[in-house]
Symmetry: C4
Subunit: 296 residues, 4 copies
């Protein structure tokens, strides 16, 4: 994020310097221009989402429909120009286009154009909400990004266990779905195995809409077992995340890399690198809040 | 809370001494007058809430309506007088008016007067339930206040993570809401993006009223994914609070090091070092129960 | 429970010895008679509960009603005789009558007689299910009782925090209930504050029957906030119990009592008593891993 | 799983060597033939489950019914042949038949034949989804099996506590069921104690279909208590699993002490002591990935 000192800047061609200037405005927020750009972006995102949501309400659409439609097109064009600017200002355009933020930036404008072919697609412009992540740093939300980082790390570390758990849930849903399809064959909502599986998910996740309910005594008994299972089994992902979060939060691995082998992930009480045995720098702890957020 | 010795009290003007006397009765509960005041307050709060609730039940309102209305007015006037007394007895009235309890005290009388302008507002007098916090100390519930303090500390420490989590939930709700508005465009309850977002919240939080349900196969598939996500994602706030609570609860290892062997990690009820058997300093414990609750 | 050696047994009067014999049969399960008594009790409880449940099913009651009624009376009389035997065989009858099991034993027969006055009360005989706790030891379920003990200890230790939490939930329910009574004044199910409070509980606990749902946009917005709160707030009791359970399970405080002052509750890494400083016996730790796995 | 070197293989009779060859193909996946067999099995399972599910959808069954029926029979016969091959290739056929995978393999073909007697039973062929566990190793999912192992260990260790908890839940359900049968005797859905127990489970597990709801004020009050209990009590299994999972997960601090400074608490991926930088013994790690998954 921080503008790194670039040696021999005067030797670069004119185009490259313009590109760098653009990069500073569009991607960074250290300069006044960069901050104003981010602030404008923040409001454009919020207003464009508000316009999409308002346009979907029949009563409002009746009287303000055309105005909102025009507003949405203005925002789509503005964001399109911004996308092009970002594309030309980065050194590696293909890498930007394939990055998380590059894809979000694209997804934030595509539905506007798709709407010409498939009317209604414009509603998907609400994915612009993800673009807010980009302007978080403007709001001095660095601390929250740090917390999000911890949560993400814990969730990422839990992923294998969560996948195993979801596989188990999926197997239960498919078996109970087939069972209920047999048992409740006459009842509404159990006409096919996919329908029964939908009911099984609604029940296992303790949502319980009540649009599909078992009617036979045997069906009710199976449903009861499934509910108790769902009620107890929710403990598993909770336990997984709690444990990982406790590990991530408690280690909080000091963020420092070994000065000898550059590998990181050392516990805060470590004085020597656990991979090569070199002495670790103790003073780096102060730098903890400067970890840069994920960026394009 | 305890009446501190105030040197040179005789030099103060008459009004100041009267104010202090009033303060002792209205805010403290060490004197007999203070205890009786608190006891009266406790019953006034309970009876006034009961009156509001009873007055809202049609069958009771028909026969006892006028009586309950009068009772409510009596309580409102009594609490208004109490509010004035509190206001004049504190040294810094503006600070009291802006404090948590000052605002609760005001909120406990305002709806009574607003009811003259907007009939029905009187129901909001139930916010008086928050005033019960004030009389907790009368009930010797100090221990519970301590536990509440621990819970609050854990929740407060979890706040940044919870905000990040709720932001994520909000983004999911807005995107799924727009998606379902497109997919289920014909179904009841998905007529606008806000309606669909309401459905998404009802589903994600596993409440599942069933007043709005997806009808198309694609809608049911998206709903299933949302349910499974809601079912797994509930693990995150639970994990956050568990970890913070564990940290807050486990800290009370008294923090003191053994004066003989300097090792720490002793339980709060320990009087001797568990490693060398030397006597621990006991005086640090005394300060624990005197932490004053949040007050005006 | 175990038959303690009673010195000078021959000096006791005849009645006392008969009572002790009875005590051995009725309360203990070390002798053959005691085991047979417990086994009979186990089946009597299960059959009597089955009879109550079956008698409540209309289709079965039509053809088997009288038979089941007679069976229920037989069980009630048998349990009454047993209650009298227990009452006369214990040394301190009043203490037995007031104990948990004494009250359960009484509650297991009373509804049978109340049924003569209030028809239908016999259904309450299902409280006999609690009597099963008494015969757990027959099934060699000692280990499960130990686990139940740990759970109970954790829940009991969590009680102050849970009470604080439920007070908070209650305050939220009363305030949201009054608010929704105002906002949704015309809708079905919000006719009084108690009705609205019922809806608030159904929503906050994520049950969501759907028998009462908000209809106005403002009502739906408040409901959404309440749902998200309920979804996040469930983390609190979970966190509380997890932490307490971790403490109870992990400390498991080595089980050893101080040889000097006999007080227990020492951490597993303690070498000295934390109350008097005496040296603890370290050899007990070895027994920790030899706890036999689940067996008959 | 790995093909162990078998000394003196040439001394065995011809039949035994054929059986071993077959074993390598059918049970193992180290050889090309074994891998191809597993790959074919994977697709056969997925396609056969898809066929069962598709055949249950009325619209598809109308036009593709006979084709899907034939496909299902082909898969059933293929799996039957595979079952026979497995049966003859293992050294101890009876142990295989009684093992978890043996039973799953049998359950994956039986419904196909039962369908001849009881039409519709073929839907139960979805239990084939459990067979996917067998081909997990093909997908290089060894890591996931390791995670599943940890989860299973934690759940297994939680079993006694969970059983105690479910016994408690069952007692609450039976008592509340009988109580609501009395209180709501006139309402739909409370006609018998089993019906009321079904409602109690739906409520306690926070599913809340809304097909059965209390109508009387007293019934609603009891339901409110049950909901709050369900909401709080879900904390117990979550706490149990969290604690066990933390214990199982945290053990892998490799347990090894530094050979130089003797301090322990090193992460499993550490090769050097984090306190003094000395080399740790690496050989303990090697055993980790060779834990064989549960197999016939």
């Amino acid at each position: 994020m921080a503008a790194m000192p670039r040696p021999s800047e005067q030797q670069r061609p004119q185009g490259s310097r313009l590109r760098e200037r653009l990069f500073e405005v569009v991607f960074e927020s250290d300069t006044l221009a960069g901050r104003l750009f981010d602030l404008g972006l923040l409001w454009a995102i919020i207003l464009s989402i508000a316009a999409v949501i308002l346009a979907s309400i029949p009563a409002i659409a009746r009287s303000w429909g055309p105005t909102l439609k025009i507003a949405e097109w203005v925002f789509t064009i503005v964001f399109s120009i911004e996308y092009v600017l970002r594309f030309v200002s980065v050194r590696n355009p293909t890498r930007y286009a394939g990055s998380f933020f590059g894809l979000v930036d694209l997804a934030a404008i595509l539905p506007g154009y798709i709407d010409l072919l498939i009317p209604g697609a414009q509603s998907l412009l609400v994915v612009r909400v993800l673009r807010l992540l980009r302007v978080f740093r403007l709001l001095k939300l660095g601390r929250y990004l740090g917390e999000a980082e911890i949560l993400l790390t814990a969730v990422r570390a839990s992923r294998p266990k969560i996948i195993v758990f979801l596989t188990f849930v999926f197997a239960v849903v498919i078996i109970v779905g087939a069972l209920m399809y047999l048992v409740e064959s006459g009842s509404a909502g159990f006409e096919s195995i996919p329908s029964s599986m939908y009911w099984a998910i609604v029940t296992l996740c303790t949502v319980g809409y009540g649009d599909v309910v078992p009617l036979t005594p045997l069906g009710k008994a199976i449903a009861s077992l499934l509910m108790i299972m769902g009620y107890g089994v929710i403990a598993v992902p909770t336990g997984i995340v709690s444990v990982e979060l406790a590990r991530v939060s408690n280690l909080p691995v000091s963020g420092q890399a070994c000065p000898a082998c550059t590998r990181s992930g050392h516990a805060v009480d470590a004085t020597h690198c656990k991979f090569c045995g070199a002495l670790l720098n103790p003073q780096l702890d102060a730098a903890r809040d400067t970890v840069p957020p994920d960026q394009a």
